[in-house]
């Protein structure tokens, strides 16, 4: 079993117009910048993107939005240090936003991966976010019903992978990545290195390979934060 693919281009192959795509990361940490840029190169339009944020600067998710490839964003916090790209499109009515509390977003994705079609949470009860959602009382407290969230594809960033797709992450870059790996039809991971089968201690596997479909090596992945401090943009001509 060998899930590795040779190029970023091959890794994102098959993501077509109208696809739903989960993209890992919290801010820049754990954001699969190289996979996102490969998706920009591949050029599908009308995507629904699930991410915690709306990108920063002109690289990664922000660049994907800037290229006009995203029709709808499902996220918890679309305001960022340099939110211009998303903000402009949103205020112009050119991109749809589904705002989800962060914990609910994480739980909805986990539910999608775990085969739980709906669950109840105290979060957002009594707020505008809960409008139109079913409410039920358990043990005398009110809760909001939320639905699972799945996607056609997940683009995630991990640290170490093996050919079967077992993954480990690096520090707080873990965040949404293991959850999205569970909730997508096709999960595509970029890893800093691929090691031999058995080199990842079975005790320390964070994402078991059953959740991963393709693996591509990006030996020295870029950090969104660093790129933005350098004033980078993607594609470079847009700078």
């Amino acid at each position: 079993m060998d899930k590795t693919v040779a190029s970023l281009q091959e890794a994102v192959a098959g993501i077509g117009d109208g696809a739903s795509v989960m993209i890992g990361g919290f801010g820049g940490s754990g954001a699969p910048i190289e996979l996102i840029h490969a998706l920009i190169d591949a050029g599908p339009k009308n995507l629904t993107v699930i991410n915690n944020n709306a990108g920063n600067g002109h690289v990664g998710l922000a660049a994907l939005i800037e290229q006009g490839q995203v029709a709808k964003l499902i996220c918890s916090f679309p305001r960022s240090a340099d939110p211009k790209v998303f903000t402009d499109l949103y205020l112009a009515g050119k991109i749809e936003l589904e705002l989800v509390p962060q914990g609910t977003l994480a739980e909805r994705i986990r539910a999608g991966g775990a085969g739980i079609p709906a669950f109840y949470t105290p979060s957002s009860y009594g707020t505008d976010i809960a409008e139109g959602k079913p409410v039920a009382e358990f043990d005398g407290r009110p809760y909001v019903q939320e639905r699972w969230l799945k996607a056609d594809f997940a683009l995630i960033k991990a640290e170490t992978g093996d050919p079967m797709g077992n993954l480990t992450y690096r520090m707080a870059a873990r965040n949404f990545n293991p959850l999205m790996a569970m909730a997508a039809g096709t999960t595509i991971a970029q890893v800093s290195r691929v090691v031999q089968l058995g080199e990842i201690d079975p005790e320390n596997v964070v994402t078991p390979g059953i959740f991963v479909d393709r693996l591509v090596t990006v030996a020295e992945p870029k950090q969104e934060e660093t790129l933005n401090r350098e004033g980078a943009a993607y594609p470079e001509v847009a700078a």
């Binding site: 079993m1 775990a114 085969g115 031999q196 058995g198 078991p208 390979g209």
Partner: protein, 228 residues
């Protein structure tokens, strides 16, 4: 009739062997406790299959030699196992996320009864005693294919493949294929569709020991199994 069947029918090992021929390369598979576990023994050469056990191991291998058991490394049947390279440990909620979330390619279970609508009864005869369900009610949901291995009839010669189950259900409309001692049968659109039968057995004789109509779509293959 049932005496005659006894002379031609496949043994459990042969049923397991036949089911094993359908294991797909690269598949993630959960084999139920007991009879279904035997399928791994007959995994065809050159096919890479990753076995899942609901107590939190992916990628386990054969039983260790006697005396080499580590009782922290067991399968759902509480038998000692070994690990293959690339294995992973996880807790029970993650394990059943794999099951319920549709991540397994195949689950194979035993059965008391299977109905033509895909209902399965395999956890309780309904006759009292201590009820125990384990992971069966979860395993029948989520896997892309849910297969059953079973004798075609009960020890008394009564059909186990029925129009509707009479014993307490494990799951509703969940079984997709049945490997029996006499035939291979798919469940499609609420009907049994005969795919293979033993050559020595006529269609009518097979129908006679099956509690619901056997449909056919195109040719019916010959059920062959290795002599074991």
């Amino acid at each position: 009739m049932s005496t005659q069947l006894d002379t031609i029918k496949l043994t459990n090992a042969q049923i397991a062997w036949r089911a094993a021929q359908d294991l797909e390369d690269g598949a993630y598979v959960n084999l139920g406790i007991g009879f279904p576990e035997m399928i791994a023994t007959f995994q065809p050469e050159g096919r890479d299959v990753v076995y899942h056990t609901e107590n939190g191991v992916l990628g386990f291998g054969e039983a260790p030699a006697a005396g080499e058991e580590d009782w922290d490394l067991i399968n759902a049947g509480k038998k000692a196992i070994t690990l293959k390279p690339g294995a992973a440990f996880f807790h029970h909620a993650d394990s059943f996320s794999m099951v319920r979330g549709g991540h397994l390619d195949l689950a194979v279970l035993g059965a008391y009864q299977v109905a033509e609508n895909g209902d399965l009864a395999n956890w309780s005869t309904g006759k009292g005693g201590v009820p125990a369900v384990g992971g069966a009610m979860d395993l029948v949901h989520g896997a892309k294919r849910v297969a059953v291995v079973t004798d075609h009839v009960t020890k008394k010669g009564e059909p186990k493949l029925l129009k509707r189950c009479t014993m307490p259900l494990t799951g509703v409309g969940c079984v997709t294929r049945v490997y029996t001692s006499l035939a291979v049968i798919d469940i499609e659109d609420g009907h049994f569709v005969l795919r293979e039968k033993l050559e020595a057995l006529s269609f009518d004789d097979l129908q006679a020991v099956t509690g619901a109509e056997l449909k056919t779509k195109g040719d019916v293959g010959v059920l062959v199994a290795k002599v074991l």
